[in-house]
């Protein structure tokens, strides 16, 4: 009887240390390191006319003060453009420290290093920077009007304009029996993990090595960038990812200025240096997302079938564009959702503003696209007087239409082709789960009691598991431990557990014997990172492939030892044995011993691998051609294109028109990410995603004033939800395997957040009968909408 770990609700390997307070987060080490602090711009847009550090020089414990003028070589150049694209005609990236001009409140101008953080801040607040304010460009309307420019050499504030088209949308709309136009908008928000960013660097002068610990979503990305900028060999730079207290996208940006400045100054001083972001710094210098304005034209027939769709939208990229145009590309290509489109044209303009730079936040452009598509479908249903579920059903791609090719290019530069799915199946499940059919009676009964109930539904498709690749190394040690390393990082997803489950199944060992390391370039130097719901798909398949190679090698070595054929062997509970004869076997730990021919024994067990231990074929080398010592293997998974997960959410809300408050009465999620490695962890991802979705729909927004000051840059004013503000979603799964990867899995990390704004807007609209075209919606805003209608 073989235990199968895939699919089980295995308790997390990570938790033992985390519930003891034994996690190792960035600021949990380096207690004796020097501390860095930053002087940041108080202006959204200004010229720097002078920096006076005189008063700071008297501060006890001050070690150094650095401005752009102090930066050598590549460090004085703009930071890397991470994702170039032919349509990104005017890319701009920031300097590590501002060079003569600042473009958003919070941009780093001066770095101070002192004996501890208290003293570094003492010195920082005595530094006087003189500014000549320039007109700020705040918000998409100002960016589009372009009366003022963020970068004087970027006409119209336009970073990029891109169009993609399937069929002939304009002609299809012109010929359609019904046409609607909509203007829709989503405001700015941010990831806001509970742990901010942080960097700790140590230069080992004797070994000539730089060790960087950073709270990142891509340790290999940081390593390549820092080595390049500082002119060090890649092999002299180690980047270790400690326990990371949440990322949600913002920590995939690299190198942040601090991530290259702290290693540089650590090497310069020959001292450990650490910088830990405080909460204000997180609001004004860690990247934001979401703000977009959309104009939609849609043509449809009497059944609500979409005949043509044209979308023009404007994307706020903030002050700089290090992440290129990936976000608006995701919006443009995920907007079609689970629906059949024959004619679709989308054009977006990415615009600079004097605000914090915009890069992916969980959902990454999809919540906006989903909001636009789902609001459009709801409006079609309203115009025709048909059911919102009915119009969706009429447009859903059928299970027999996969693979479904949109003839467009996805965010990974690969074809936009949905690999598999059962969207009608999801719709049936979500209608059941929320009680769609009985809702009209429920709504009427509530109305007679003076309660205004509404129901909403929203559907999405999410491209997950984007390439280019991930890899893994699996090593069975002679003590029987299975050591697994993969290069991508973890921020709470439970990778140590799910990758151990995959390896345990492949190797036939107990999950407790598998030890997974992520995000340490010393253990696995080739990787991309954790973003875009890709970790389980990419590294999950990579560890499976590497474990399969180890298993094959173990069977080959054991076959020699047992004098059996490899195909007659299996591995169970860590023992390789003849199928049907468990007594004729050899433990994997001993196979590991035999895999490495020894001159010198190091234990009683290891004597079996020494040169006089047993007779050997005199004509065969101890390590034959094509073989390698050690029971280990390395392999990579690189997909031809992304795999597409899907899901549908439905909500019942109660609106209090006197207060403008929205109570979520019920919230239902159906989700299809293929086979679940660990259902408990997938549900956790959905819970957290829905929470961020609800927050983004009803509570959170990044509020800039006209001058470009971030008016709510604290947890007192930015309304991250507590327990009392959130629903407990009911969840159902559907498991449609992907044909694209060995495990058949799809990503799950971002799904929960994607359709929430669309779903709640629909439910609120149904409750109050007022069009919901912009999200988030606060109680005062909803109250004002109701008053004016």
């Amino acid at each position: 009887m073989t235990t199968r770990w895939f699919g089980e609700r295995v308790e997390r390997r990570e938790d033992e240390r985390l519930v003891r307070g034994g996690g190792r987060f960035l600021d949990d080490a380096g207690h004796d390191a020097l501390a860095a602090a930053f002087v940041r711009s108080p202006h959204a847009h200004a010229r720097i006319t002078g920096i006076d550090v005189g008063d700071a020089l008297d501060v006890d414990g001050l070690v150094g003060i650095y401005t752009w003028d102090d930066l050598p070589g590549r460090l004085a150049e703009p930071l890397p453009l991470l994702i170039p694209h032919p349509d990104l005609t005017h890319p701009r990236t920031q300097y590590a420290l501002a060079r003569g001009e600042v473009n958003h409140v919070g941009e780093a101008v001066v770095m101070v290093v002192a004996a501890d953080r208290y003293l570094a801040e003492d010195a920082a607040e005595r530094i006087v920077v003189d500014y000549e304010p320039l007109p700020p460009v705040v918000g998409l309307d100002a960016a589009r009007a372009a009366a003022d420019l963020v970068h004087e050499d970027v006409p119209g504030n336009v970073a990029a304009v891109t169009t993609q088209e399937l069929g002939d949308a304009a002609a299809a709309i012109a010929a359609a029996p019904h046409v609607l136009e909509l203007d829709l908008g989503i405001e700015r928000s941010l990831s806001s993990p509970l742990e901010g960013r942080g960097v700790h660097a140590r230069w080992d002068a004797e070994d000539g090595r730089l060790r960087i610990r950073t709270s990142t979503q891509t340790s290999t990305g940081v390593r390549a960038a820092v080595a390049n900028i500082l002119g060090l060999p890649d092999v002299a730079v180690d980047v270790l990812t400690p326990d990371v207290g949440g990322g949600f996208g913002t920590k995939v940006v690299h190198p942040y200025p601090e991530e290259v400045l702290v290693p540089w100054v650590a090497r310069l001083l020959g001292r450990e240096v650490k910088w830990v972001e405080d909460r204000y710094e997180h609001f004004v210098s860690a990247t934001h997302e979401r703000a977009q304005l959309h104009h939609v034209r849609v043509g449809f027939d009497d059944d609500g079938v979409i005949l043509g769709l044209e979308v023009d939208f404007w994307h706020d990229t903030g002050a700089y564009s290090p992440y290129g145009i990936v976000l608006p590309i995701i919006t443009a290509t995920q907007l079609p959702g689970p629906y059949r489109h024959r004619n679709y044209r989308v054009t977006f303009t990415s615009l600079y503003t004097n605000t914090v730079t915009v890069t992916p936040y969980r959902g990454a452009g999809r919540p906006q696209g989903c909001f636009v598509m789902e609001r459009t479908i709801d409006r079609i249903a309203g115009a025709l007087g048909r059911g919102r579920d009915e119009v969706r059903a009429a447009n859903l791609i059928r299970p027999d239409e996969f693979p479904y090719d949109f003839h467009m290019t996805f965010q990974d530069g690969r074809p936009l082709i949905y690999d598999s799915g059962d969207y009608p199946g999801l719709l049936a499940k979500v209608r059941d789960l929320i009680g769609w059919d009985g809702f009209a009676a429920e709504q009427a009964a509530a109305a007679s009691d003076g309660r205004r109930l509404g129901i909403g539904l929203a559907c999405y498709v999410e491209g997950t598991g984007v390439g280019p690749y991930e890899g893994a190394h699996v090593h069975v040690e002679t003590n029987g431990r299975v050591m697994v390393a993969t290069g991508l990082t973890s921020q709470g997803q439970g990778h140590e557990t799910v990758f151990a489950q995959v390896v345990a199944d492949e190797l036939g060992v107990d999950v407790a014997d598998v030890y997974v390391t992520t995000g340490d370039t010393r253990r696995f130097p080739y990787a991309v990172g954790t973003y875009a719901s890709r970790a389980a798909v990419m590294s999950g398949n990579a560890v499976a492939l590497a474990a399969r190679a180890v298993r094959a090698k173990a069977l080959r070595i054991a076959a020699d030892a047992l004098e059996a054929a490899p195909e007659d062997l299996t591995v169970e509970s860590g023992v390789v044995h003849v199928v049907g004869t468990p007594s004729r076997g050899i433990p994997l730990s001993q196979v590991a011993v035999l895999s490495n021919p020894l001159r010198y024994s190091f234990s009683k067990e290891a004597q079996a691998a020494t040169q006089f231990a047993s007779p050997a074929d005199p004509d065969v080398a101890p390590v034959p051609d094509g073989d390698e010592p050690g029971l280990e293997a390395r392999d990579y998974y690189s997909p031809v294109r992304s795999t597409f997960a899907a899901g549908m959410h439905a909500a019942v809300v109660a609106v209090d028109p006197a207060l403008g408050t929205v109570e979520i009465v019920r919230y239902a999620v159906v989700h299809d990410c293929g086979p679940l490695i660990n259902p408990m962890l997938v549900e956790g991802q959905i819970h957290g995603g829905v929470a961020q979705g609800v927050a983004g729909a009803l509570l959170e927004r990044v509020a800039y004033d006209e001058a470009g000051n971030l008016a709510n840059a604290s947890f007192m004013d930015f309304l991250m939800p507590y327990l009392s503000e959130l629903p407990v979603p009911v969840i159902d799964h559907q498991e449609t395997p992907s044909p694209l990867n060995p495990l058949g899995i799809k990503g799950a990390g971002e799904a929960g957040v994607i359709p929430v704004s669309a779903c709640l807007a629909a439910a609120i609209e149904d409750a109050v009968g007022v069009r919901m075209d912009r999200m988030p919606i606060s109680p005062p805003e909803l109250w004002a909408l109701l008053e004016s209608s």
């Binding site: 938790d15 519930v19 307070g21 004996a115 509970l194 326990d243 207290g245 949440g246 909460r279």
Partner: protein
């Protein structure tokens, strides 16, 4: 910044052990615990008293250690997450429940919730859902949506009641 004349001696009991440090008046309790005493299980999420990740028990009651100066707890008994396991290192019921119910993801806010739950169960062995919501309602978590945190606290009450 240590050893200066204006520093203050702080003597306290942390997780049952006598500890002391010389610190400036402005030293936060969170920094005393984390950096002077090297008890890094207490985390700092906002440093303005809203997120509650830094929650510890001072004389048995939950306190935001980021809003408390170290000198204010001179003579007090402080319990941090490191003090929740049994004397033999065995996880306590609240810790076991959070692991069993997947009540944590990144684990950064977790110490604060563990201490709030410990305080709640000390006051009410069979807390109602309203009591749980009241007790945990002032701390922020960005990962879990709180669903499994609430389940964990219910489960912790069961585990604590087991003989």
């Amino acid at each position: 910044m240590t050893g200066r004349s204006e520093d203050h001696e702080v003597v306290l009991t942390v997780n049952g052990a006598a500890r002391s440090a010389r610190v400036p008046a402005r030293r936060l309790l969170s920094d005393l615990l984390r950096h002077d005493l090297r008890l890094t299980g207490t985390h700092v999420g906002c440093e303005h008293g809203v997120c509650g990740a830094c929650t510890v028990l001072v004389d048995g009651r939950p306190v935001r250690s980021c809003l408390t100066f170290a000198v204010m707890v001179d003579g007090s008994e402080v319990t941090t997450v490191e003090g929740l396991a049994g004397p033999d290192g065995e996880l306590g019921p609240v810790q076991r429940a959070f692991r069993e119910c997947h009540g944590l993801q990144c684990g950064f806010c977790t110490p604060g919730f563990l201490l709030l739950a410990t305080d709640l169960l000390a006051r009410s062995s069979q807390p109602s859902d309203d009591e749980i919501a009241e007790a945990l309602g002032g701390n922020l978590c960005r990962c879990t949506g709180y669903v499994n945190i609430v389940r964990s606290v219910r489960r912790a009450a069961e585990l604590a009641a087991e003989p």
